[in-house]
Every structure is written in C-alpha cells, then in structure tokens.
C-alpha cells in the first residue's frame, strides 16, 4: 500500500507533437510542451484556443489524434483516465450531490481500496488543508460556491496525485473570492509539491499563480515563459496584447543603422534593433515605459516623440494614467509617477519613450484583446 503520509513529488509532463482534430477542425495542432516536475504551469488563452483540449488530453478524457504525452518518461496515451492517477478540478465543481463532503473526499481513496482508518485520517487531514474540517457532514448543496470548489480541490488532491489539473476552477466565483482562493491554491501547491497545470483565460490570474505560462491561440502554443518574459519579451503580437496593457503602433518601416525606423504621422520612430524577417511589423508599447508631456521640450533626450491629444487623464494616487490619441486614431496609453501638473482632456501633448522600449513584433493582424 502507498504511504499517504509522505509527500508525492510532482511528475514531469512531456507533450510531443500532439494534435487533436474534430473532423476538419484542428482543436490542437502539433503542440510541444515540457512541464517540469513540481512546476505551476498555466495554460492561458481565449476560449477555443486549445487549452482545455490539452488538459483533457493529459487527463485522458479525450483521445489524441497524433503525438505522444509522457508522464515521467512513461507514455500514457493508452492509459485510461481512471488509471492515470492525475487529480482534476473542474470549473463546475462536479461534486457528487448524493454524498457528504467527507464521502466526496474519501471517494478516490475508496476506489483505491485504502483501508478505512487510513482513509478517514487522510480525509480529515485534507479537509483541514482547505479549512473545511467543520463541513465534513454537509452535502454539497448546503455549501457556497467557494466552499464547493475547496471540496473539489480536496477531493482531487487527497490521493496525492503527482499531477493536479485545474480547468478554470475559479471561473464561476466573484472577484474577491477568486483572489482569496488564488492565494490558497498557491499555498497548497507549495505544500504538496505536485505538478500543477492550471487553465485560465484571465491573464492576471495566470501571472499571480504560475511559474510559467503557455499562451494558446488557435490550437497552437504561441509562447511559453515566465510572466516576466511574456510581458517584457513577447514573441508575437498576440502574446504581447493578451498579457498586460499595451498600445500598438502600425506603419511602414525601414532599416537604418541596424535598427528599424517607423514613420508615423511623418515622424520617425525608432526601435533598438532591426526587424526580424520580412513583412509588416508593429511597435508594441507598455504603458509604464511611456511618458506624457505638456511641452515637447520636456521629453527626455534621445526619446521617440509623437504628438497627440489627451483623451483620458486619471489620477490614481500612486501615479497618473493617460490616454493620448495621435492623428490617425491610434491610442497610446501611459502610466507615470506623479507629475507636477495633471494634464487635462483635450490638451495637446507629446508622448515619449526610449527606442529600447519599442517592442518590435511581426504584425500577425491580431486585434487588441480586452
């Protein structure tokens, strides 16, 4: 019998060339991804991007069309879901309504024929971890949404799975509760040491929780990296726009002295490096790298400058947030530390940023995601 007192170490997940087709529709198209043991990996992307499909393939709920998934070097393609020993938490909780909380949590242990004393001890211990020890004899219908999701979490981890999959587990909860449970999930991840795979379409949630994030779009993974890598060095325009706030400048560009130079409204705007490859490129700007000035002469030395009209000016206490619309309709947002004077809406202003803050990306035509 397995010793439930010792902590299971997380398993490595290796996804190799995996595709999932539904008829002609490619839900997942030749995806590769390595997840480290004990890692907290988030799958981020809009709905229909393939993130839940990937999760279902790891869990064994659907068969893959092509490719291979390995769990600690062991191929699991032919292992049925109930033999994979992977915990799953669903957005809709999926608690058994005819069982009490304690029976729900004991269910996976019962299926594994764990003797009663060990089972009861494990249920008690796990319910304490999610702070629901006083609710053991309630039925799921008598609990709030947040409590139900904690029961679901307890049930998915009571058998010490080496991998825990979560499919938008907090999607149905309100913001405050969601933020509280995010911290709970992070704490539990540290305590368990299992590999967590977390599906979400909420980029903030992904940033808060994850060691690394895989950004999904149209059945492919656009980029895998830490939150910081994805934010500061997005590899595609889609990733750049999906994570964090951004402004996008489009225009023709030429190479000049080893750097791309765009012409926007007749003004040259520089990047710090040349554009990679042929085709149209864009400049992506993060709001905190952009400053807004009432007078063009106030803009820092060597900075790119564009003039426009202030269309939004918000005082946030810790700083100010501006939106400046330049001729042609492009909106550039900026976040600055407190200025001496708050510019007013309708005022002429100059936006400025350093060439090295121009994030140069191939134009894949993706529109801003809000």
């Amino acid at each position: 019998m397995k010793d439930f007192a010792t902590k299971a170490k997380g398993a490595a997940i290796d996804i190799k060339g995996v595709s999932k087709h539904y008829g002609r529709f490619k839900a997942l198209d030749d995806v590769d991804l390595q997840i480290q043991p004990g890692e907290f990996m988030s799958f981020l992307g809009p709905s229909g991007s393939g993130k839940t499909t990937t999760l279902n393939l790891i869990a064994g709920f659907t068969d893959l069309t092509r490719g291979e998934i390995r769990l600690d070097e062991r191929s699991i393609g032919n292992t049925p879901a109930h033999k994979r020993n992977i915990g799953v938490v669903f957005q809709h909780y999926a608690l058994f309504p005819h069982m009490t909380v304690a029976k729900n949590v004991a269910y996976p242990l019962q299926q594994r024929r764990v003797p009663k004393p060990a089972r009861e001890a494990a249920v008690r211990e796990t319910l304490a971890k999610v702070q629901l020890q006083d609710f053991a004899h309630r039925y799921p219908s008598e609990l709030s949404g947040g409590q139900q999701q904690r029961v679901a979490l307890a049930r998915a981890m009571v058998f010490d799975p080496s991998v825990l999959l979560m499919d938008e587990p907090l999607g149905a909860l309100d913001k405050k509760l969601r933020e509280f449970l995010q911290l709970e999930i992070k704490r539990i991840h540290r305590e368990l040491g299992s590999t967590f795979v977390y599906v979400t379409h909420d980029q903030e949630e992904a940033l808060v929780l994850s060691d690394r994030i895989a950004v999904f779009n149209k059945g492919k993974i656009e980029q895998v990296g830490t939150g910081m890598e994805l934010y500061t060095k997005p590899r595609t325009l889609f990733v750049g726009q999906f994570i964090g706030e951004s402004s996008v400048l489009r225009g023709a560009h030429v190479e000049d002295g080893g750097a791309a130079v765009f012409t926007i409204n007749g003004t040259p705007v520089r990047a710090a490096r040349p554009a990679a490859g042929e085709g149209a490129h864009v400049i992506l700007l993060r709001p905190e790298t952009v400053s807004v000035h009432g007078a063009a002469s106030d803009a820092p030395e060597g900075a790119n400058r564009l003039t426009g009209t202030v269309t939004e000016a918000l005082y946030l206490g810790s700083g100010v947030k501006y939106e400046v619309t330049i001729p042609g309709g492009t909106v550039i947002s900026a976040r600055m530390a407190n200025a001496e004077r708050l510019l007013t809406i309708g005022e002429e202003a100059t936006v400025a940023w350093q060439p090295q803050d121009s994030i140069l990306l191939a134009d894949d035509g993706s529109a801003a995601q809000m």
């Binding site: 109930h82 033999k83 799953v88 999926a94 309504p97 005819h98």
Partner: protein
C-alpha cells in the same frame, strides 16, 4: 360577496369530478362486504365471507400467486432491460437515439388487441400459451416502455460530467456507474419498476388470449368469474388490489418526499 359564488361553484365542480373518479372504487368496496350471494349494489348486510373465499379457494389464491410471480419477474426484467436501453439511448444522442426510443415505445401505441393476436399466433407455434414464461415475455414487452421513459427522464437531468469526474478520481466505468450514476438515477429506476409491476399485475387483454387452466392470472380470473357467474369474490379481490396499490404508491410518494427534503 360577489367572490363567494364562483368559489362555491368551483368547489362543487371539483368535488363532483373527484367523486366521479373514485366512484367505481367506492362501489366495489362495500360490495365486497355484502351478505347476499350475488353482485348487487347497494349491498345489504355485512360479512367477510368473500375475503375468506378468496384466500381459501385454491383457484383464486393460485391466480394471485401466478400474478404476483409474473409481475415480480416482469418488474425485474423490464427494469434491467429498460434501464440499459435508456442509458444506450442517452449515450447515442442524435437521430439514432430518436429512432431507438420510438421503437422501444411502440408497445404503448399499438392497440392491445392487435398485440394480443400477434403474440397468441406466435405462442401457439412455440407452445408458450398458458406458461409462466409466456406471461413474463409478453408483459415485459408491454412494461418496457414505461421503464425506458421513467429512466430516460432521470438520465436527461443527470450530469454526465460527474462520470468524467469519477474517472479522474480512479473509478472504472463500471465502478463509476454503480457509485455515481445509479444512485442519482435511482428514483427514475424505482418509479419505472413500479410502473412495470403494475402494468403486468393488471394486464388483461394479452393475458386473456394466452391464458390456460394451469396458469391463470388474477385479472383473467376476475374477468372469467364475472362473465360466468356474478361471484362477489371479485369485489373482495378488487378491494384488496386497491388497498395494495394505495399502500405501494403511498409508500413511494413518502420515500420520494423524504429524499427530496434531505437534499
């Protein structure tokens, strides 16, 4: 004042309709305690002789045993088959599910006499007339639609994602069915079983065709008795059946509401 008149009218109509619905039963019960030796209404005197006759007369008593045996086996058989069929239909979805359901429900739609003639013709060749097997096969066919409908209704509100969850927790398909699906669709299965039992227990048309002196079901015995002589024992049988079904359905309702409250 103007509101009282419609209320009285409505009340009167309701009472009249209720009386109309239970009238046949109200006629039968007093007749079963009658003293005279023929079936007349209103009865006179009081005696338990017809009840005594029912339990001591081998023919009456034997018919009850045959009917109970058949109905119990039919209830079990129809419930198992019907439940499996309902699950299959639910899984199939789409067009084939519609066709399957339609086929399984035909015994309700086809006139009993037509079915009876068909069954009789086949039974003559296969020597099933008047046998327990014959009754069971015929009644199961008639009871199956009720189980398919009742269990199907339960399954349509059952969240199949719970089975996926059970699989992720280590339950094989079979185990998930017995620990998750079955308990949650049990109310539908039980009501289907009740319907199947009652369908068989008071089936008379097909049974009349395939009856034999060796094995006669209770409804056939009642029918034969009342056409031959007007033996008031039929009133006693009717009253007993009425009592039994009232208890069964009453208990079912009671259990049902208790379950409903505990959730």
């Amino acid at each position: 004042m103007r509101r009282i008149l419609p209320r009285i009218l409505l009340g009167t109509i309701c009472v009249l309709i209720a009386l109309w619905l239970v009238a046949p039963t109200l006629v039968v019960v007093p007749m079963s305690f009658a003293e005279q030796k023929s079936l007349v209404f209103p009865p006179s005197g009081f005696s338990l002789q017809w009840y005594e006759n029912f339990f001591t007369n081998k023919q009456w008593y034997g018919s009850l045993i045959v009917s109970l045996k058949v109905a119990l086996i039919v209830a079990l058989l129809a419930t198992v088959l019907g439940t499996l069929a309902a699950i299959g239909i639910e899984r199939a979805k789409g067009r084939s599910a519609g066709i399957l359901r339609a086929i399984l429900i035909t015994p309700i739609i086809i006139p009993g006499v037509v079915m009876a003639i068909g069954i009789y013709a086949v039974y003559l060749d296969t020597r099933l007339v008047g046998t327990l097997t014959g009754y069971v096969l015929a009644h199961t066919m008639l009871a199956l639609p009720f189980v398919v409908i009742a269990v199907g209704a339960s399954l349509s509100v059952f969240d199949a994602r719970l089975e996926t969850a059970a699989a992720s927790l280590g339950a094989s398909r079979l185990s998930a069915f017995f620990t998750v699906t079955l308990p949650l669709i049990l109310p539908g299965i039980l009501s289907g079983m009740l319907f199947a039992f009652v369908t068989s227990f008071d089936e008379v048309i097909v049974s009349l065709f395939i009856t034999s002196p060796q094995a006669t079901t209770l409804p056939v015995r009642i029918f034969a008795s009342i056409t031959r002589d007007s033996d008031p024992t039929v009133a006693a049988v009717g009253s007993l059946t009425f009592l039994a079904t009232t208890i069964i359905i009453g208990a079912g309702l009671l259990v049902g509401t208790r379950r409903g409250r505990s959730k």
